[in-house]
């Protein structure tokens, strides 16, 4: 089995994670009498995971450079408040309610301020030499306090209609047709990437994996995309909502056209986009290469002419930008911005990243691992909630799982044993 995986050049850690996730899903499904693996629950799971998943992508890069960011939850909170005020209090003074530009301006403001907050923390870490743990621990308090100050504690609601689509919900999906289009594009990209990579390696006469492995890998990836879209399309809108949509389009409701699919929720689309972009950044750009080099040996990176201080600022700034995206997703999902939004998210994010195989010692980690880690965490939480497990017991279980995950990782894999890292 191990040799088979090696031939296919599949990350063994990834397979381990996938198996764990599958066990959790099947376990909860059996325990709940088939209520866990349903289109509806999978859909909800993907929406609930989105906010943490987006931040986890950035946290991978932070931890790979041997830093940590404890302030992401607080930054999410302050950004959600700022974006709430921008869209509900400030912009309506200039634009009409639910103006199509409102959500765009709001999001841009959030991204810029998020980047600025991240840069400030990055400057303190990189140039002033204060350990990231301390800077971001301070940041946790500062930004949580700042979140309260934005409105003196008032919760901002209602939010802009278009902005709320970012949080999923009944209208925050792209529907069946577009979901198929996305799936087709994704599968085409998977096949193209596989062919291109193989041709490139062959043109240099490098060893390539056997052709059957190539086919299997591609088929598995494409299959996962297909299964995901089929599942999400199988989750239909409630009849009442479907009626309302048909009414707004001026179509009479019949038994057949009342069946409207959710399709891919917008937050999931955002996660996919962020993950793809950051994976490309991590693997295919100088920036990403330097992030890993710094994590592996900061001295060597410096000697190779890499500006480690500036890279530190950039990585933290990127984290701030991702916090803004997460802030948009989670406030849109709750349809309001409260100053306690994102509380304890830093721990969920770090846990997801660590479960996903990122080494706290730096230099090693993957974006896709962090995504699965986030899904594992959310699955545990949702599953236990579905079974009616006490919240207090939920925390205990999740805490133990985190420790167990890191232990098993240390136990079963030698450091850097991962050939794809």
């Amino acid at each position: 089995m191990t040799r088979l995986l090696a031939k296919m050049e599949v990350d063994r850690r990834l397979v381990g994670l996938a198996v764990v996730l599958l066990i959790i899903w099947i376990g909860f499904d059996l325990a709940s009498g088939g209520r866990f693996i349903t289109p509806r629950n999978i859909f909800n799971l993907s929406v609930q995971t989105a906010s943490v998943a987006v931040m986890a992508c950035g946290m991978v890069l932070i931890i790979v450079t041997r830093h940590i960011d404890l302030s992401v939850g607080a930054i999410l909170g302050v950004l959600a408040m700022i974006m709430g005020v921008v869209q509900s209090d400030i912009l309506p003074q200039f634009l009409e309610y639910n103006h199509p530009m409102t959500w765009v301006i709001t999001l841009i403001v959030g991204l810029i301020i998020g980047g600025a907050i991240g840069s400030i923390q990055g400057l303190a870490v990189g140039y002033l030499g204060v350990p990231a743990f301390i800077v971001t621990l301070g940041g946790l308090l500062v930004w949580r306090g700042a979140a309260w100050w934005v409105t003196q504690g008032r919760t901002v609601a209602p939010l802009d209609h278009n902005f709320m689509l970012l949080g999923g919900g009944i209208e925050g999906t792209i529907g069946a047709t577009w979901s198929w289009v996305v799936a087709a594009i994704a599968i085409a990209a998977i096949i193209y990437a596989a062919i291109k990579d193989r041709r490139r390696r062959l043109s240099f006469e490098f060893p390539v994996k056997p052709i059957w492995a190539e086919y299997t890998n591609t088929a598995i990836k494409a299959g996962l995309v297909l299964i995901a879209v089929i599942t999400l399309n199988a989750y239909h809108l409630p009849e009442r909502a479907a009626e309302r949509i048909l009414e707004s389009r001026g179509i009479a409701a019949t038994a057949e056209n009342l069946v409207i699919s959710h399709g891919i929720p917008i937050p999931l689309l955002i996660v996919a986009l962020v993950a793809i972009v950051l994976t490309i950044v991590a693997k295919r750009t100088r920036f990403g290469r330097y992030v890993f080099a710094i994590g592996g040996n900061p001295q060597a990176a410096e000697l190779a002419g890499i500006n480690v201080k500036r890279m530190t600022v950039a990585v933290f700034a990127l984290m701030g930008v991702l916090c803004a995206i997460s802030a948009a997703i989670s406030s849109a999902r709750l349809q309001s911005a409260g100053n306690d939004l994102g509380t304890l998210d830093e721990l969920r994010v770090i846990a997801a990243v660590v479960i996903g195989g990122t080494s706290l010692a730096g230099g090693l980690g993957t974006i896709y691992g962090a995504l699965i880690g986030a899904l594992v965490m959310q699955s545990l939480q949702s599953g236990m909630a579905l079974l009616g497990v006490d919240t207090s017991l939920q925390s205990i279980v999740i805490g133990l799982v985190l420790v167990l995950a890191v232990f098993s990782d240390k136990y079963f894999h030698r450091r850097y044993s991962d050939p794809t890292a």
Partner: protein, 275 residues
């Protein structure tokens, strides 16, 4: 400059350091030392810990700046204020801790800081791996682990990667700080073969070591330092281990080589050594 290997007199030195002074808070770490290095030559810089050899070399590699003195590269005075300046003058340093990122593979390490990119600005890993295979194959035909992180390589293989990296930068002067420290017998021999090959290619190599045996086997000339001063420069073939030990410990040129002691050299047993 001292008259040295007869074979070198027809060439100009690759690099010369003249009358280098550097002190840290009143302590003279390097006190008026002059050394030189010719193409195709391996020169050892020897001395006890604290003799000033590492400080002197760090001036050349750009880690420190001299208080006074000149660095002449290819007959022209060069300003070396940081590692980048040194690199611009084709001077590469291979540090004792090897300066590799353990989690990256050989090709990624070789090209760290000057990666190949395609027309969209993305890393061209295949092209880098291709070049890495070519360079490493020349240095070490047994090198196979191109896709493993360098932490999975043996000490000698890691040293090959570090040297290949310097070669890719078109180094003409290679400074090696304790290249055989922490290496086994077989690995040490491998590094020795590497050095011989680089020598044939016309590079000048400065070996910093406090292990007499490594340096004796590999070098053509020896610069010996003590207490920040140059004791003397001697051709390796004209001296014995004991002669050199005397230079290191007593700071004294061997009697039969007294005529080789050049400017900046301490010709006679110096006072400090006798104290």
């Amino acid at each position: 400059m001292p008259e040295t290997n007869n074979s070198n007199t027809d060439k100009n030195p690759l690099v010369e350091m003249r009358d280098i002074h550097i002190s840290f808070g009143g302590v003279k770490a390097v006190d008026g030392v002059s050394i030189d290095l010719y193409p195709g030559e391996v020169v050892g810089v020897l001395g006890h810990n604290g003799a000033g050899k590492s400080t002197l070399i760090k001036v050349l590699s750009g880690a420190y700046q001299a208080d006074s003195g000149q660095i002449i590269v290819d007959g022209r005075e060069a300003k070396i204020e940081n590692a980048r300046d040194a690199r611009d003058n084709n001077i590469e340093t291979i540090y004792q801790n090897l300066a590799l990122a353990d989690n990256l593979d050989a090709a990624q390490n070789l090209f760290l800081g000057r990666e190949f990119t395609d027309k969209f600005g993305f890393l061209d890993d295949a092209a880098m791996e291709h070049k890495a295979r070519e360079v490493l194959h020349r240095l070490n035909p047994n090198f196979k682990k191109f896709t493993s992180p360098v932490s999975a390589l043996s000490g000698g293989q890691r040293q090959s990667v570090a040297i290949a990296r310097a070669l890719l930068f078109e180094a003409r002067v290679l400074i090696m700080d304790e290249p055989c420290a922490a290496l086994g017998v077989h690995e040490t021999r491998m590094v020795g073969e590497l050095i011989d090959q680089l020598k044939r290619d016309g590079l000048g190599i400065l070996l910093i070591s406090h292990d007499l045996h490594d340096v004796f086997d590999l070098s053509d000339r020896l610069h010996v330092m003590k207490n920040g001063k140059l004791v003397g420069t001697v051709p390796t073939k004209d001296v014995t281990h004991d002669d050199v030990l005397g230079m290191i410990i007593l700071g004294k040129m061997p009697e039969h080589l007294m005529h080789l002691a050049g400017p900046g050299a301490t010709n006679a047993p110096n006072k400090e050594a006798l104290q």
